[in-house]
Structures are given as structure tokens and as C-alpha cells.
């Protein structure tokens, strides 16, 4: 054994040692091809050989510079020599957003902003963003009216509307940038783009999950479907009374009392007024009237002219066309 060890020790430099993986490989050793060896003998031979190889790794490992630790000596392993394939592709660089492209073109650079800003209204220093922020336009309780303001407009509603629009715009931009990133396969790992509906017309959006509240409502309605209208039934936990109790339709009294006029007339007048007032601005649409007049004239002229070719007229329906070509033809006709 000792002899063999020494002989093997000389051979050690011939082993391939990959210290990063603590691996050793002897590419020269061959096992006899005939199987006269018993299994036990073979395993023993392997283990003996393996011991030398392990010793070769240990020789390299234990001579590395080490630092003492509470748990034992620590060594710095070199990187593995054996090249192995990756698990996933290399992370791809994110394409610049539209703003980043624009900023670069214009030479706009990011500047650091203070987190805390002076608030004019309260005269204190407050956070720039977030809850209770400085110079918050949305928190102003009184908006002073100007001469130019439209009295019919609610400035608070307008403010809310504007804010909503800004959020929508930002969301749209974000989605656009994410789509672009997805094209390069560089979506941030925690973001997914999920199709809510296929871009084919007629497909429905994915069904929404029914909430607890809605279920309660439905249960309440369902419970009224008994002869007694659910009066004697036990209530389920979370069940809510049906929203619409009683009658939906109401009829006006048949006999009229003494009043200014009949109630029914009043009702119809009310509806009529509503419709009239709603459409009052476009009772006379000048533009429309003019085009209608023009079209009529055109038709008349055509019918005068077109007696020679009635088939041509038949083929073309009266539908308004948006194509340029058609429009030109009309001009030519003139």
C-alpha cells in the first residue's frame, strides 16, 4: 500500500483537477476488459484509485491560503474550470422608454429633487409627494372664480376629470413601453402582460370574479322566489334583502282631481321638454342642412344627366363614402 501510494503521488500531476468543483479526473486509468475480477475486488480497486484522486484534490485544497474562522479554516476557492451550460439565457438589456429617447435627444438630464418642499399654503415644510404633500392642488378647498370661467362648469369636477385623464395617459404610456420591452424579451421579472380579450371583434372580456357582496345580493333575490316571497324562510349568513321590493310600475290615477291640469299631461310634457332641451343645440345644424341641400341639388342634376346611364346609378348605393376617389369622380361630374 505505502509503496503504491508513493508511486501514485508521483503521478499526481497527471490528474485533471478542477478545484472550483472539487473534481478530479484520471483519463489514463483503464480497467481490465475481461471480467475475471469479482465485483468486490473491482469496487475496492475503484475506491483505491479514488482515494488517490481525492488526495490530489485535497493536496491542492488544503494548501490554499486560509483564514481562521470560528467554525474552521476558510479557503477561497477558484472559479470552476469546467464550462457548463447556463440554466437560463443572459438577462437582456431593457430598451429605452419613449421619454428616455426624447430626453437623450434633447439633452435633458435627471436632477435630484429634495424630498421635502416648502408648502405655501400652510407655511410649513412637507413631503413633495404622497400623503399630506406640499402644494397639493387637489386639496385646495376653495377655487376662486375668474371672469372668463364658464359658470355652468364645476371646477372641482373638472379638476377630478383632469387628474383622471393624466392617470389614464400615464397608464397608456406605461403599457406602450412595457410592450416594447416585451418585444426584446426584457420585461421586468415581476411584470406580466396578460391578454384580457383577444383583439378579434365580438370576443368577450374575461369573466370577472363575483365578489362576496354581489353573491349576497343574488342570494337575496333568489330567496324571494317562494310562494311567500321569502317571508318565512330562514336567512342564510351574508344574505341581503332583495334590493327592489314591491312594484316597479306605477299607474296614474284614473279619475283626476281638481288641479291645474291632468297629471298625465304634465308627465308627457315633462318628457317632451327634456328631449327638446337636450337636443336644442342641434335643432338646426347649419352644416348638415347645407350638405343636405348640396346633395339634393347634385342628385337632381345627376338624374337629369344620368338618364343616359341609369345602370351606373343603380350600381352605386347612396351610402356616403369616405374614399377620395369617389369624391373626385363627383367633382368630375360637375
Amino acid at each position: 500500500m505505502e509503496m503504491e501510494m508513493e508511486i501514485e503521488a508521483e503521478k499526481q500531476h497527471k490528474f485533471d483537477v478542477d478545484l472550483g468543483n472539487l473534481m478530479a479526473f484520471d483519463s489514463n486509468h483503464t480497467f481490465p476488459s475481461q471480467p475475471p475480477l469479482s465485483r468486490e475486488h473491482l469496487v475496492n480497486q475503484c475506491l483505491l484509485k479514488a482515494t488517490h484522486l481525492v488526495q490530489a484534490v485535497a493536496d491542492a485544497l488544503f494548501t490554499l491560503p486560509s483564514t481562521e474562522d470560528v467554525d474552521g479554516p476558510l479557503v477561497n476557492l477558484p472559479a470552476p474550470l469546467t464550462k457548463l451550460p447556463r440554466e437560463k439565457h443572459l438577462p437582456k438589456p431593457k430598451p429605452p422608454t419613449k421619454w428616455e429617447v426624447f430626453a437623450k435627444k434633447k439633452g435633458i438630464q435627471n436632477r435630484k429633487k429634495d424630498k421635502i418642499v416648502y408648502d405655501e399654503q400652510s407655511g410649513t415644510w412637507k413631503r413633495r409627494y404622497g400623503y399630506d404633500r406640499a402644494n397639493d392642488e387637489d386639496a385646495v378647498p376653495i377655487i376662486e372664480a375668474k371672469e372668463t370661467d364658464d359658470p355652468a362648469e364645476d371646477p372641482f369636477a373638472k379638476r377630478k376629470e383632469n387628474k383622471k385623464k393624466r392617470i389614464e395617459k400615464q397608464d397608456k404610456n406605461r403599457l406602450q413601453n412595457l410592450k416594447e420591452a416585451a418585444k426584446f424579451g426584457a420585461l421586468p421579472s415581476h411584470v406580466q402582460l396578460a391578454a384580457t380579450a383577444l383583439p378579434i371583434t365580438g370576443t368577450q372580456a374575461a369573466p370577472k370574479k363575483v365578489t362576496k357582496d354581489e353573491l349576497g345580493n343574488v342570494a337575496g333575490i333568489a330567496a324571494t322566489a317562494t310562494a311567500s316571497g321569502g317571508k318565512f324562510d330562514k336567512k342564510l349568513p351574508g344574505e341581503k334583502p332583495a334590493k327592489h321590493k314591491g312594484k316597479y310600475r306605477k299607474f296614474l290615477p284614473v279619475v283626476e282631481g281638481t288641479g291645474i291640469g291632468s297629471q298625465e299631461r304634465e308627465q308627457t310634457e315633462k318628457i317632451l321638454n327634456k328631449i327638446m332641451s337636450k337636443n336644442s343645440h342641434n335643432i338646426l345644424n347649419v352644416e348638415k342642412a347645407v350638405t343636405m341641400h348640396n346633395v339634393k341639388k347634385e342628385k337632381k342634376r345627376r338624374s337629369d344627366k344620368g338618364k343616359a346611364s341609369p345602370a351606373d346609378n343603380k350600381l352605386k348605393p347612396e351610402k356616403k363614402s369616405f374614399k377620395k376617389g369617389n369624391f373626385k369622380k363627383g367633382k368630375k361630374g360637375k
Binding site: 472550483g20 468543483n21 472539487l22 473534481m23 478530479a24 479526473f25 484520471d26 483519463s27 489514463n28 486509468h29 483503464t30 480497467f31 476488459s33 465485483r39 473491482l42 469496487v43 475503484c46 475506491l47 484509485k49 479514488a50 482515494t51 484522486l53 481525492v54 488526495q55 484534490v57 485535497a58 493536496d59 485544497l61 488544503f62 494548501t63 486560509s66 467554525d71 474552521g72 479554516p73 476558510l74 479557503v75 476557492l77 470552476p80 469546467t82 457548463l84 451550460p85 447556463r86 440554466e87 437560463k88 439565457h89 443572459l90 438577462p91 406605461r174 403599457l175 412595457l178 410592450k179 421579472s189 415581476h190 406580466q192 402582460l193 396578460a194 391578454a195 384580457t196 380579450a197 383583439p199
Partner: protein, 314 residues
């Protein structure tokens, strides 16, 4: 038409970030599963390999009908499992008349099958059949030595491939710092013939040798088995090239709490936790306690103090 879905919780986000492609990868997880039929031998093989790799493996216990790695269409299910469990090495066991005790080792790249090696298991000896000093038993998750013996691993294409897969399967975590007191196991793979590999697991006994380097001794602790090469599918050349890509740049670690000043040079700031002066315990002088008890307490205190004084005197 598109909806942006993001992680709802921080924890979920962290979990997704762990799975994202990285510049320097942290290590591959192993998925262990079996087909519709397995033999007792194969069950033991899978269970014991799982035991060896417990810190970094997932084992499925149900039958899998749809998994047939070598057949077209049989890999869909496997790729899905690989995606779900985030494993990129898999071990699939099956047993049939044509291929008894069949073990398929494979790797995935981007959750698609990268390569496959099929081996038959013979001469299996489970862990329980080895008797040895239990003090030597290797600890879970320790970094193993790996030894390959035989020219077959260089000369024969299949064995060369198997060597790479086995190395990847066995090597465990790639570490920078290693505790020398923690090396306690070795895997031995020997190419007995062009299609047969002996695999065994040994514990290491470190003996004093008089030098810095201890003398190594191997104690077989099992499992031990023979792998007989069957089918194999090397990686596609284009895919291999892509998978071997590495980046020269190292990911930078964010430097925190360090500033640089032109005059003072490098300035580090240290966080000192709140000392909580308001919450420190005060000497306990209760007033609501009955007089007898109060007096008894005072007396006891005096008794405790008394011997101390004596000691000081002495």
C-alpha cells in the same frame, strides 16, 4: 387588450426575481419524478438521490403518464414542471420490459430540454446495506469531492456526456468560500467499460499525516450502483453555443452607507439602534403591596446584601 399584471406582494415579487435570468447564476435545482411504472429498485434509487440532494431538489411522488423525454410531444409536460418548480436538471425513472430500471438524466435551458442521457440501473446497493461508523455520515448540503476514473470518460462520446451531466447533478452549490472542516463526502464515478459506469458515494475520513494536508480515506456509505448507457441525445449545436454564453462583467453590488468626501476621503456611516432609554427597567418599589410582604421583601433584600458585605470585609 393587454393588462399589466404585477406581483401583489413583496414576497411574491422577491420570488419572481429569484427566478429571473441572472448574469451569474446561483445554481440549478433538480426535479425528480417517475413514469407510470417504476420498480422497487428505481423507487429506492430516486428516493436516495433525492436524499443526497435534499437541499436543492424537488421530488414528485405521483405517476406521470405524459412524460416521455425521448419521444416527440412527451417533453411538454416535463418542460411545464421545470417551469413550475424552477428546476433545470431532471431525473426521470421508468420501468418497462424493454428497458428495465430506466433512469433518464437531463438538463433544460430556458425551461426547454437541453440534453438527455438514458441509463439503466444495475447492481444497486442502498444506503441501508452499508455499515460504517455513523460519526462519519456526511452532513446534508456539504460540498462533495467528485472523482471520475477511466479513459472512457474522454474517449466515448456517451460517457463524456454522462460525465458532464453527473458533474452538474452532483457538484452542489458553486461557492467562493469553503470551510475545510466541512468537507466530508466524495462521489466516485468509474468507467468500467465503454457502456458501464460504477457510481458510489463515500464519506471522507481525514487522518493526520504530519503535514498541512490530511491523509484522505474513503468509506463507502452508499448508495452504490452501475449505470449502463442506453440512449442519449446531445444538445443541439446552436443551443449549446447559446447556453455556453457568459458575460465578462460582474454584477455590481450596491455600496451602501459609504460616502466620499474630497477633504475627508471615504466616510462610512454606521447605524446604531435606538437605545430605548425610556424603556429601561427601573428599581421596583411597589406601593400597592401589602405591608407584610413589603417588609418581608425588604428583609430578604437585606439578607442578600448581607453576605456580600461580609465577603468584602473578608
Amino acid at each position: 387588450m393587454l393588462e399589466i399584471k404585477t406581483a401583489k406582494t413583496r414576497r411574491g415579487k422577491r420570488e419572481l426575481e429569484k427566478r429571473a435570468p441572472k448574469l451569474v447564476e446561483s445554481g440549478k435545482k433538480t426535479l425528480i419524478l417517475h413514469g407510470t411504472k417504476t420498480s422497487a429498485v428505481l423507487n429506492a434509487v430516486l428516493a436516495q438521490i433525492f436524499h443526497l440532494k435534499k437541499d436543492n431538489a424537488v421530488k414528485f411522488s405521483r405517476k406521470n403518464e405524459n412524460v416521455k423525454p425521448f419521444e416527440a410531444g412527451g417533453e411538454t409536460s416535463l418542460e411545464f414542471f421545470s417551469l413550475k418548480t424552477d428546476c433545470s436538471i431532471f431525473l426521470y425513472g421508468s420501468h418497462s420490459k424493454k428497458r428495465p430500471d430506466n433512469l433518464v438524466l437531463g438538463r433544460t435551458y430556458d425551461h426547454h430540454i437541453y440534453d438527455l442521457v438514458e441509463v439503466g440501473v444495475e447492481n444497486f446497493k442502498p444506503m441501508e446495506s452499508f455499515s460504517y461508523d455513523k460519526k462519519l455520515a456526511p452532513k446534508e448540503g456539504s460540498k462533495p469531492f467528485i472523482v471520475f476514473i477511466g479513459e472512457g470518460f474522454e474517449a466515448v462520446e456517451e460517457l463524456k456526456h454522462l460525465k458532464e451531466v453527473l458533474l452538474e447533478l452532483l457538484r452542489g452549490e458553486v461557492v467562493e468560500n469553503l470551510n475545510l472542516a466541512g468537507v466530508d463526502r466524495a462521489y466516485v464515478c468509474a468507467a468500467l467499460s465503454p457502456n458501464r459506469v460504477l457510481f458510489t458515494h463515500c464519506a471522507l475520513r481525514l487522518k493526520k499525516s504530519g503535514t498541512v494536508v490530511p491523509r484522505m480515506e474513503l468509506v463507502e456509505v452508499g448508495p452504490s450502483m452501475d449505470f449502463v448507457i442506453r440512449r442519449h441525445r446531445p444538445p443541439n449545436e446552436g443551443l449549446r453555443k447559446e447556453a455556453m454564453k457568459t458575460s465578462r462583467e460582474k454584477p455590481k453590488k450596491k455600496e451602501k452607507n459609504v460616502k466620499r468626501d474630497e477633504l475627508k476621503g471615504k466616510i462610512g456611516s454606521i447605524y446604531i439602534p435606538d437605545q430605548k432609554v425610556g424603556e429601561t427597567a427601573l428599581p421596583y418599589n411597589a406601593k400597592g403591596v401589602k405591608r407584610e410582604r413589603r417588609e418581608a421583601k425588604r428583609k430578604n433584600d437585606n439578607d442578600e446584601n448581607a453576605p456580600k458585605r461580609k465577603k468584602e470585609d473578608a
